[in-house]
Amino acid sequence: MSLVYAYTRHREPTSGEVVLSGNEWEASRAPMTEVVAMTLRTWAGTCAVDPTLGVAWATVNRLAPGATATVQYVISQALARYVSAGLITGLAVAATQSASTRIDYVVSFRDPRMDGGPLRITGAF
């Protein structure tokens, strides 16, 4: 496998567990996607190493009116530090509420150090 611009470990998108290839950690083919996914998986304030890492999911009330807008806002806020550092560009966050209380979101962005189209991460809260 060819190495992209930088090395970082590849993690299973949902659980965040590192992925092994044989006895070695598998390298990620989209480094900033790993960072964004790690951020989305983390509740703001819960990472002792970096308390600013993560999304302020605790502020989202899924039953409240405008919950989708809140989700868009907290995700954008969580990823703003990567945008301001120029690590990702073209950030767009969309959120929709299903019939239940679940809110689906789609985060798309570009990694300026990689060729190709926008990267996309979907999730639900």
């Binding site: 930088a6 090395y7 970082t8 470990r9 900033m32 790993e34 960072v35 970096d50 890492l53 550092a85």
Partner: protein, 492 residues
């Protein structure tokens, strides 16, 4: 060499830098952006390493006592045999009242209480009341600490009044002021002093240690004048003069810093202890150890109480409105005044000169009140025969007033306390050339500097400006003498 701990961010960034360099050497680039895998891993290691750095810093500080932690100071104290001064319980005398001319038995365990709940156990088993129905008992606080000290005049209440005594007693004097345990900072300073000059072979530190080891007197400070002839004070080889100082006087009327009660007197019991004829607790013994070096005679040294040089202090204060002087004039106290009747020459019952409910300062002398000027709030006066009389039966003065009456600023009590503390911190004067140990540069200045008086007054909340009228110049005491406070007055 001082150890400088790194912050978590510094450690993390350094680690990421090393780590990235390793990857680069292998032809790869490590993603180190915030939130990245490497960033978080380095952050975790940095937190642990930071704790190690902090511990390393503390270890480097614990090497010597000046910056050591409390635990390390305790260990230094144990290893070098320097104990921490324990907390002290206040001991007071209390005036009690009851059946005139009766001798009242005070049951064991009887105690009086202050308003904050502090208990004072009676150490007197009985009290003989005068024809006026009053007598004095000794009490000691059941707990220790600075807060157990009471002011003269404070009213204590019997937990269970002995038969024949009224339910309250009034503090007559402070025998021993309560004190907190020595601070760790002070303890560390003691250890440093010991390390700088180890007591041995009859050196000056040895003399100080011997005198301080005598516990039958409340010796707080010791000053050694090596090669000083005990009687003449002349520089003489083979002679030593030691001056011992008692606890701070505070608001006590007797100068507790003068051990034994007589200024400049030889403390023969300490001399006996050094000769080996008395134990450190003051008991006569035939089996003691002579501490004096055999190469000197017993007459070649002395251990004395401090001599005193009383100094009147008068200061002019500018205070804020919350502590303002209540009026702008003075009044002459008539010679017919008593402790319960203040008589002023002139009419002070009407108009702007009405002194009813005004706080005033009256000079009651130093015998029964430290500093002389006593603050009292006057009741309504009565004018007759050219004089105004104020009945002070409810709040009697400590002694007969005389001289001039002055207005009392709101911060008088704080000012008084600050001045008492300043004078209580002074040490004895030095010889020429200087021989005192510890020297003035190492603490306990002997000279009263007018600027120091101003600084002391300025530190009192509410004082905006201060100047010294008396003394007119700095006061330097003679060798072995301490400048003490005579009359203290603040005017506007």
């Amino acid at each position: 060499m001082a150890f400088t701990p790194r912050t978590i961010a510094e450690i993390r960034d350094a680690l990421l830098s090393y780590w990235a360099a390793e990857y680069l050497a292998n032809g790869e680039v490590l993603l180190t952006a915030p939130g990245s895998d490497a960033y978080l891993l380095a952050g975790m290691i940095a937190i642990t390493q930071s704790a190690c750095d902090v511990q390393a810093l503390q270890v480097s500080r614990d090497i010597l006592p000046d910056q050591a932690s409390n635990g390390a100071i305790e260990r230094f104290g144990y290893v070098y045999g320097v104990g921490r001064a324990p907390a002290v319980a206040a001991r007071l005398t209390v005036t009690v009242t009851g059946t005139p001319s009766a001798t009242i038995t005070i049951p064991a365990g009887s105690s009086l209480a202050w308003t904050d709940g502090t208990l004072y156990l009676s150490t007197s088993t009985s009290v003989a009341l005068s024809g006026g129905g009053s007598g004095t008992i000794n009490v000691a606080a059941t707990t220790t600490g600075l807060t157990t000290t009471r002011a003269v005049g404070d009213v204590l209440t019997w937990q269970s009044a002995p038969a024949g005594l009224n339910p309250t007693g009034t503090v007559a004097s402070v025998v021993t002021a309560g004190d907190d345990a020595e601070s760790y900072q002070s303890w560390a300073q003691q250890i440093i002093s010991r390390l700088r000059e180890r007591p041995a072979s009859g050196n000056r530190a040895d003399w100080a240690a011997w005198v301080q080891a005598y516990t039958a007197l409340d010796i707080r400070e010791v000053y050694v004048y090596p090669t000083t002839q005990p009687t003449t004070g002349a520089a003489t080889l083979g002679c030593v003069t030691v001056v011992a100082v008692g606890p701070a006087q505070g608001n006590s009327t007797s100068n507790t810093r003068v051990l034994g009660g007589t200024p400049g007197a030889a403390l023969t019991e300490v001399h006996d202890y050094i000769e080996g004829t008395r134990t450190s607790t003051g008991l006569v013994t035939a089996t003691g150890t002579q501490l004096r070096p055999v190469t000197m005679s017993a007459g070649d040294y002395t251990v004395d109480a401090i001599s005193v040089t009383p100094q009147t202090v008068q200061m002019t204060l500018v205070v804020n409105s919350a502590n303002a002087f209540p009026f702008g004039f003075t009044a002459t106290i008539d010679a017919s005044s008593t402790t319960t009747s203040l008589v002023l020459v002139g009419n002070y019952t009407t108009g702007a000169s009405n002194l009813a409910l005004q706080p005033v300062l009256v000079d009651v002398g130093n015998t029964n009140y430290r500093g002389g000027y006593y603050r009292v709030v006057l009741p309504a006066g009565s004018f007759g025969g050219g004089n105004t009389t104020f009945d002070l039966t409810a709040t009697p003065l400590p002694d007969i007033p005389s001289g001039t009456l002055y207005p009392a600023p709101g911060c008088w009590s704080e000012f008084q306390t600050a001045m008492f503390a300043y004078f209580d911190s002074l040490g004895p004067g030095d010889t020429t050339p200087p021989r005192r140990w510890p020297s003035e540069d190492n603490g306990a200045r002997a000279t009263v500097y007018r600027s120091a008086l101003v600084a002391t007054a300025m530190a009192v909340p509410g004082v905006l400006s201060a100047s010294v009228t008396t003394p007119a110049s700095d006061v330097a005491p003679a060798a072995r003498a301490v400048v003490t406070l005579g009359t203290l007055l603040a005017v506007q």
